[in-house]
Symmetry: C2
Subunit: 702 residues, 2 copies
């Protein structure tokens, strides 16, 4: 057996020279082990023929991890020039699945394997030199320039695994067995799977920025959850256990597949797991460098859809709710199994970190408490799409490591596989893949009545929605006070001694004024025509936070997270309710308000007179109506004939204020003279709308 | 003969009671004389059958002048309530020619003549009461509330004339002769016309706000002109003289008509003047209330097109340049003829102010110096489209009196007719009509080599053009310094001790920075892709001023005039030159500059790299390139692949500044760190774009 594959280093300490040496070693063993992976390719053609249609050929991945070091070290100025600009453009992007036109082969003129190997040698030399010679201080933290070095190493370790999957997907005649990559030779029969009772408990996830071990952006922040009791399969589902599903024609029974799974199945025409091969009527399994008779005791390797279909089939058979665990449930298993981090200097108590095999092994080889393979062997799919913890932040030099996967289409898989190493093998690590992707990944199942909750991972990227989120909950610009706060303050001043039971924020958009009014009113209703706006208010009320991207320049964005608690609004969450509704045709239930606020609303209505002629019916006698508008009348929102003012009427200029007076005077008196309140909407880092909204206060007197 | 019809009053003095009485009289005689005009209508149907398809029936005009008093007095708060809101809506607008759909009869349910007469009596009472009882101070000036009263009276006097034209256009059996409206009975033969030499001289037009006589907005401001010597017809062109043109088939000979005149002639199918009637092979003339055998010695009455066609025919016959006079030339005639204002207490030395007839009279009845009828008899068309004098301003309660006619489609006519009275009969007055309109108007002609100049009357109303005019030459908002000034200052500082021969303002838009740079450079070239923008710079360089409307709210606008002299830029007019050009493909001549300024340009180009890769060729060695941009990259302006930055490049954020450095570094060095310079573009009274432009300075070093 080989020596232990070096673990990810602790980044604190006071022996600079030792740490420098440890990091150099970590770099070299990783860089060399990655390069050694490509020694399993039997010929140069293996580098250029794509294993998977929609992904680059292996030559790209061979160069990519080296280029990544150069690009990131340039960003932190640990180096100041490129080694090979052409290679470093070619190898920079394209890791993920691409669309057919990005991959048009004519766009690429790949260099030879020898050239890339020579390039890798240059990079190895360069990075070694940086590590050897650049002044080092400890600890190495998130902002430390050396963070980029660890990032590069951990990035290469991820590709060590993903490239091993691509090699496993490459034609068999293009690969060869290699002593450094020995598969397990223990096959045998699978044990009968059974359910283990897991008691309820709380899990604490997340990581402080001050943590002493390198982490990716998605690990930071905080997440706490109470996990109900559930039952869990003792073993990962084995090839043996999965065979029953295959033989029950599970792949072709639409009842077991959800819509997304079904369309994958139709596309792929799969009838069995992707690495299964039928030869002369008996099943074989494709490993990384060979095909072997089916090792029935090994974990089956499938994508999320196949795992989920198996659970649906099991649910139907047993009458129980069989499903995949959530991420929280997996952490409960981790705790219940009494796992701790893999030690630096002893072989892992799991088929992990390349400590044993270059393949899976029987599902009953590594007991962890009452369970087996909570960690290691193959990854385990969960029901949980990856989402950011509260406090999530992107890293400045790698803002698209996780953010593109916050789309509720990338599910977390946990536990790591036989080749997961470095950060990948840590408890904190969180990796997610598209649900149809294949990794060295299988699953275990749980029986639980608790429905799975999908946490919000969504970063609002729609331009208008994100701009309004920032407008309501974000920074101030040009020294202009938050508009919703200013209006709420004016409204509350105007209400003075009057009752403060209920208020209506009509045209509430993202809902900031709804929350602000709830500081003073017992209950506040927010109504908007747009369900997308309402969703922002609802999310804040339910989850207390909102995430969105802000355009900086062109396509470059920054990532924002805003929390009610930071705005001092957490305590009013229960006092607000949001509804979708039409201000020109309000449902009867919305009435009896002590205050109605209509901010930047009237000039966006299709028929403002319908609102203005009837709004008194929604207010208590003596109640206050606050109208705020820049009077930006546009025919695209309001037909010209329905404008309240801003035109010549009977030959004379007729302002909106005059129009409001005409429409409201039967039931209202103008409480004080109109005032302009400024507001700023950020469009890009350098472009803003800066407007003045005319605020008028009306007391219902009839 | 009737007593003299009261003249427009002097609005200064110290006898309040006397002035109040004079104004009351002026109101009453005007109001009653107008009402008396309608006594020439033979029956009630005459009020409802339209004389002219595209104009309201006479019932509208009967009510309109009364409603005008109410509307304007409400605006200045001399009264505080309406007399009849329905009438006052119905009679408020629709004086001018309308489109067929505005006039759809079903929109109008006109009241009876008796009802309108009763309404007029109420208004007469009300206005009399206001004049009798409202405190009065003298002088009555432009801002004085009583200005509205004089405005109402002068407005009614205008309609006295225009309604008399409509009555003249009404069916003959709908009108009747009336003792108060006696036509001239002197016919005779026309004198032979001849040319009178008019010496060169200067004319001074315009009026101070402090002038003691009421004036319409278009009279104020200043205009000075030197008029070259010319020859002028002694008489107005008579019916006799015009007959030759009719008999020469002048109406059907396209050579005599310009394009606009020809399309009027095609539409109208006119073959003779509109008030001419052929009966039993002999010509008759329609007057206001009768038809008479053609009075050959009277002036012919035609529109501008017919007058111009006559001149074209005369030019062809004589080989001389025969044309209509300009407004300036008409004022030269006024001075040469030794005219002065009509006296308050003696009959006018002209067929004017209803002092003689309710019709024209022979062209040789009123000698004025060597000429006849410089003033009076019928209006005289000029070649001059009405335009605002420098210093023009709209009156707050009547901002659309003249502004809609600043369209180069309304030509001035001068001198007044037999019915022109009050302000209309004053030297300062300036009235213009659409060129195809008929009034009691004819013409005299001049022979002159001086081409007619068309002054700019145009108020830029195009949203983008007007916003940029304000952005460059208008007010500051939010305390943000004028952007062009700020950039010019930064550029001039950066240039420091370097040569300051020539500068290029690339993408100059409205050209403010071009002028600002000319304070320091010997010559500055402004180039923009848009001819419309260039036109603003050219107009400023040539005429020193720019006029545009600003959107206030909805369709309401304000009128702005900006002058170079007020910006301290009048002295550099000769140092600038504007060209239309493509920054991505500059003509070879634009080179050798010591400074190039490109403000808010690069993110609006279809291919910025073409500019950036070649711009060094346009600069002297050591010259400075100033780039300013908010980097608002949009695919609609710049294809995504041609953005300079603002995207992920090879996986890493690539800013525009990095892109600029990459493109410019072969020839430039960045002189100092980038700085943000703010700018504000006003869209409405309450809506602004507030942006930051990143300014970088580059010195050409290779």
């Amino acid at each position: 057996m080989q020596p232990l594959f070096q673990r990810t280093p602790v980044l604190t300490g006071d022996n600079i020279s030792l740490k420098r040496h440890e990091i150099l070693d970590y770099f070299l063993v990783t860089f060399d082990r990655y390069q050694q992976l490509f020694d399993t390719l039997a010929c140069d053609e293996a580098y250029y023929q794509k294993p998977i249609t929609l992904r680059h050929p292996l030559i790209f991945y061979f160069g990519h991890t080296a280029t990544f070091f150069i690009n990131k070290l340039l960003l932190v100025r640990l180096i100041d020039e490129r080694i090979n600009p052409r290679f470093e453009s070619m190898f920079a992007v394209g890791v993920d699945e691409m669309s057919w036109d990005d991959l048009n082969d004519s766009h690429y003129d790949w260099p030879s394997v020898a050239e890339v190997r020579a390039y890798r040698a240059q990079v190895r030399e360069k990075i070694s030199h940086v590590i050897n010679t650049t002044p080092l201080t400890l600890p190495i933290t998130w902002q430390h320039p050396w963070w980029a070095i660890i990032m590069g190493i951990e990035h290469e370790r991820i590709h060590l695994e993903t490239s091993s999957v691509l090699i496993r997907q490459q034609r068999l005649d293009y690969v060869r067995q290699h002593d450094a990559w020995p598969a397990c030779r223990q096959y045998g029969a699978a044990p009968q799977n059974s359910l283990v009772d897991i008691s309820a408990g709380s899990v604490h996830l997340g990581k402080e920025k001050a943590d002493s071990i390198y982490g990716w952006d998605n690990e930071y922040g905080q997440h706490h959850a109470e996990v109900n009791a559930f039952q869990c399969s003792r073993y990962l589902v084995s090839n043996q256990q999965f065979l029953a599903f295959v033989e029950a024609n599970g792949y072709s029974n639409a009842n077991y597949w959800n819509e997304e799974g079904q369309s994958w199945q139709h596309f792929s025409q799969a009838t069995a797991p992707t690495f299964w091969r039928k030869k002369d009527d008996s099943w074989h399994l494709r490993l990384m460098t060979e095909e072997i008779p089916m090792p029935w005791s090994w974990p089956v390797e499938v994508n999320y859809h196949e795992a989920k279909a198996f659970c649906a089939w099991q649910s139907q058979l047993t009458g129980q709710t069989v499903r995949l665990p959530t991420e929280d449930e997996w952490y409960r298993l981790y705790d219940v199994a009494g796992l701790t981090e893999i030690n630096a200097d002893e072989r892992a108590p799991a088929n992990s970190h390349l400590d044993y095999y270059a393949s899976a092994c029987p599902v009953n080889q590594f007991a962890q408490g009452e369970l087996y393979d909570v960690r290691g062997n193959v990854w385990q799919w969960t029901e949980t799409p990856i989402y950011p913890f509260t406090g999530f932040d992107v890293h400045a030099i790698y803002d698209d490591f996780t953010t593109p996967t916050f789309d509720e289409r990338h599910n977390l898989l946990k536990g790591g596989s036989w080749i997961s190493c470095g950060n990948e093998s840590r408890r904190d690590s969180r990796y997610a893949f598209r649900r149809h992707f294949f990794q060295h990944a299988g699953f275990r199942y749980v029986v639980a009545e608790t429905p799975t909750m999908i946490a919000t991972s969504h970063y609002e990227t729609d331009k208008l929605m994100a701009e309004y989120a920032e407008f309501h909950y974000g920074d101030d610009y040009f020294g202009v006070e938050n508009f919703s706060q200013a209006l709420a303050r004016i409204a509350i001043q105007a209400v003075a001694h009057r009752p403060v039971r209920t208020a209506l924020d009509l045209g509430c958009a993202s809902g900031r004024a709804t929350f602000e009014l709830a500081r003073h009113f017992q209950h506040v209703t927010g109504i908007d025509f747009s369900a997308r706006f309402i969703a922002q208010g609802v999310q804040l009320a339910e989850q207390g936070l909102l995430r969105y991207t802000l355009t900086e320049e062109g396509e470059l964005v920054s990532y924002k997270e805003r929390k009610l608690v930071d705005l001092g609004l957490d305590s009013v969450r229960a006092k607000v309710a949001f509804f979708q509704g039409d201000a020109c045709n309000l449902k009867a239930q919305f009435t009896g308000y002590d205050l109605i606020l209509a901010a930047n609303l009237i000039d966006r209505l299709y028929n403002p007179s319908k609102l203005l002629h009837n709004i008194h019916q929604r207010l208590t006698m003596g109640g206050i109506l606050l109208l705020a508008s820049p009077y930006t009348w546009l025919a695209e929102h309001t037909p010209r004939n329905d404008w309240v003012g801003g035109f010549k009427k009977d030959g004379e200029s007729f302002t909106t204020l005059e129009g409001l007076q005409a429409m409201l005077s039967p039931h209202f008196r103008l409480v004080q003279t109109a005032q302009d309140v400024p507001f700023v909407i950020r469009e890009t880092k350098r472009k803003f709308q800066h407007s003045l909204s005319e605020v008028t206060l009306w007391e219902r007197i009839k």
